[in-house]
Symmetry: C2
Subunit: 417 residues, 2 copies
């Protein structure tokens, strides 16, 4: 596919995350405008509340866009999602008869503050990156053998929706119980092994009924779009708490997402197959179309005061073993009702070489082999003041469908009690 030209000239650059081919959905405010729905186009944001008010967009009789979340649009279902995207493409295309009406509704992105694009109903995190799972096995259990269920189940656990924050929100180093391997008893204090996890987040747009299983086709239809997701992790808290019932407070102090929901439709040209199956999956997890996307991903780190951010890892979403549709199917197949606004973290995305590892745990091999930044500093885990940024984009012919940065800076732990 090639670039679709827009009359918003900044959208026609090969470097923008937001060409007309993308049209991702976010929530923004300015000094004058209360938080509301917007669509990114080049360096601008189309004010959807005003577009609706002016009659440029009219999905149904209710006002949908003068609210600080996209959940109400999600609830209208895939046909409406398609109509909306088609209408927005029409309005913003080069030569559009709507240009004169729409141009005054554009806000410079530089002047806007971005908010969480949707109300997170519940948050689930998966563990679907094979290289990551093997690396964690090697680091924590002495060998890369996968858990016995791993090749059969898209393993996941429920996370904490209240900890999901938009890119730019500071992350406070958490307090918690920590036990050194040679200590008799745990102590309480700030995490010393603070980490990131490079993930994609799938946004569930349409719910499923309590008590009713779903197929992978239904699951794929239910997905509204994708965001970048950083599942901040306190490895020392997690290590002491996670047996036998899984991660809890080691993962509950912050999960950052990028501010724009890139729609499934925008990503459609970049669909790609999951890797070859090592063991045959049970039929309920079989997919009828490629479930992953070819999305380049990058992790950057910038210590406080550093002249520049250093790239520390580059990989691709297609490294995952399970797709979001498979994860969602497994999540709902036992009768767990899903709701619009549910967020599914893919699990940490790591490729086969160290340059592709999506967490500091792997990049520094649990701190035993610190890595060096372009600025000369070394790191095992995160220091106070470090800023971490995730970037991602699918690359078309002369354009990219990007996600915008997903960033967060570490704040020192709170003094307590």
């Amino acid at each position: 596919m090639t670039l679709l030209p827009s009359w918003v000239t900044s959208a026609n650059s090969a470097d923008t995350d937001f060409p007309l081919n993308n049209l991702p959905y976010g929530v923004f405010s300015t000094d004058d405008l209360s938080p509301r729905c917007g669509v990114a186009i080049g360096d601008m944001i189309l004010d959807m509340a005003r577009a609706e008010e002016e009659g440029l967009v009219n999905l149904n009789d209710e006002a949908l866009f003068d609210v600080p979340f996209w959940n109400e649009v999600m609830e209208l279902g895939p046909d409406t999602w398609s109509s909306l995207r088609a209408r927005l493409t029409e309005i913003l295309a080069e030569g559009s008869p709507d240009q004169a009406a729409a141009a005054p509704l554009l806000i410079a992105r530089a002047d806007a503050e971005l908010h969480l694009p949707f109300l997170v109903s519940e948050y689930t995190d998966f563990y679907a990156g094979r290289q990551h799972a093997e690396n964690m096995g090697s680091i924590l259990r002495g060998g890369p053998e996968l858990p016995a269920n791993w090749l059969h189940i898209p393993i996941g656990y429920n996370g904490r929706a209240s900890s999901v924050v938009v890119s730019g929100t500071p992350i406070t180093r958490p307090l918690g119980q920590i036990k050194a391997p040679d200590a008799d008893a745990p102590s309480f204090g700030p995490s010393k092994r603070l980490d990131i996890e490079l993930e994609m987040g799938a946004v569930v747009g349409m719910g499923s009924e309590f008590g009713q299983p779903i197929t992978t086709e239904q699951a794929d239809e239910m997905i509204f779009g994708y965001v970048l997701l950083n599942d901040w992790s306190a490895r020392d808290i997690q290590g002491w708490e996670y047996q036998p019932l899984g991660p809890f407070q080691g993962k509950a102090f912050g999960t950052s997402i990028s501010p724009w929901i890139v729609t499934k439709e925008a990503l459609e040209p970049f669909r790609t197959e999951v890797p070859e199956r090592s063991k045959e999956l049970l039929p309920y997890l079989a997919e009828t179309k490629p479930g992953l996307y070819d999305i380049d991903l990058e992790v950057l780190m910038r210590p406080e005061g550093a002249a520049k951010a250093s790239s520390i890892a580059k990989t691709n979403y297609s490294r995952m073993y399970y797709s979001a549709a498979q994860q969602l199917t497994h999540h709902a197949v036992g009768g767990c009702g899903m709701n619009p606004g549910d967020l599914l973290g893919s699990g940490t995305i790591s490729g086969p070489t160290r340059a592709e590892y999506g967490s500091l745990m792997e990049l520094s091999w649990a701190g035993r082999e610190p890595f060096t930044l372009e600025t000369g500093e070394t790191r095992g885990f995160l220091e106070d003041g470090d800023t971490m940024t995730l970037r991602g984009a699918a690359r078309g012919d002369g354009y990219r469908v990007g996600f915008g940065d997903c960033t967060g800076q570490i704040q020192p732990a709170v003094k307590f009690p």
Copy 2:
């Protein structure tokens, strides 16, 4: 404490769950009335929407009770909770000048349908019953040794809020992945080891700030009240999925709660100490007042068509090792923001003898030693059509503060695909 007499005569019986000393909060509807807030008193429900409309209760300028949830009242905080309770006690007390105005606002409980009393924001389940943890160790790992962290951490995991349902809602036997110990690969189908867990649920009424730790005193203040909670569990699905990241679909097909929130204030006379500590807790978990309550609990089972329900276990909430305030403190101390409507399951409550075990897994020792009902039938796990009921009450002098039944009947698995 002794019975507080009410002009609602059924509230003065020693057998009612709902004397004036209780005044629990629920949501009800009738053929004529849409779902709204109500207060149980004897065999009746006080229609709070009408009580507000008539000016009998006036918490603030906004209408609070003509909605199908108590979350808005919770958000007003503990001082308002106290004022409301004091005012309701005044209205419903024997000799109240408000009797004439309030009497027409009473609905017979027998004519009402009960709904979830609050919007469940997020649901967390704990594992704070020592006997239960030891039993599960013996059954699953061959010995009663507790996990290394158990005496230090109130172990918990995030559950699924969308699966929380009100008492009376049917529970469909879930489908999922199951692997027999001697099988090479898992299969997909209905759970064959369906179980219950007898728990109490603490309802968080007041939130905490993202990034900010809380003390046990603050945690106790944040709790609005308690319900009975049945954490339905599919042991075969859970057994195959739970390593390494904890329970997921084995716990996601239904969690039943009793329809009335019994307030913390109503339970105040029944506060009791946690059991003796085997290991000293870290200071952040220390409590300044007794954190548990003396609440008698009972589990009943009724096969489909059986003449009567059989009592299969009796125990007491005071068997728990950790209080809800300790659990909530641990949950929030790393900066996880808590919200009004968050629900915390205590963990399965089991006492020291088999007659006090709070799950079928323990009562039938993983199905190896089926137990016999009063009607002569035997059970290892749940059969389709079985109805399970939890009951609970704190016992005062000539009165009880009860919770109402928490019940659910097992429906056959859905045919799928």
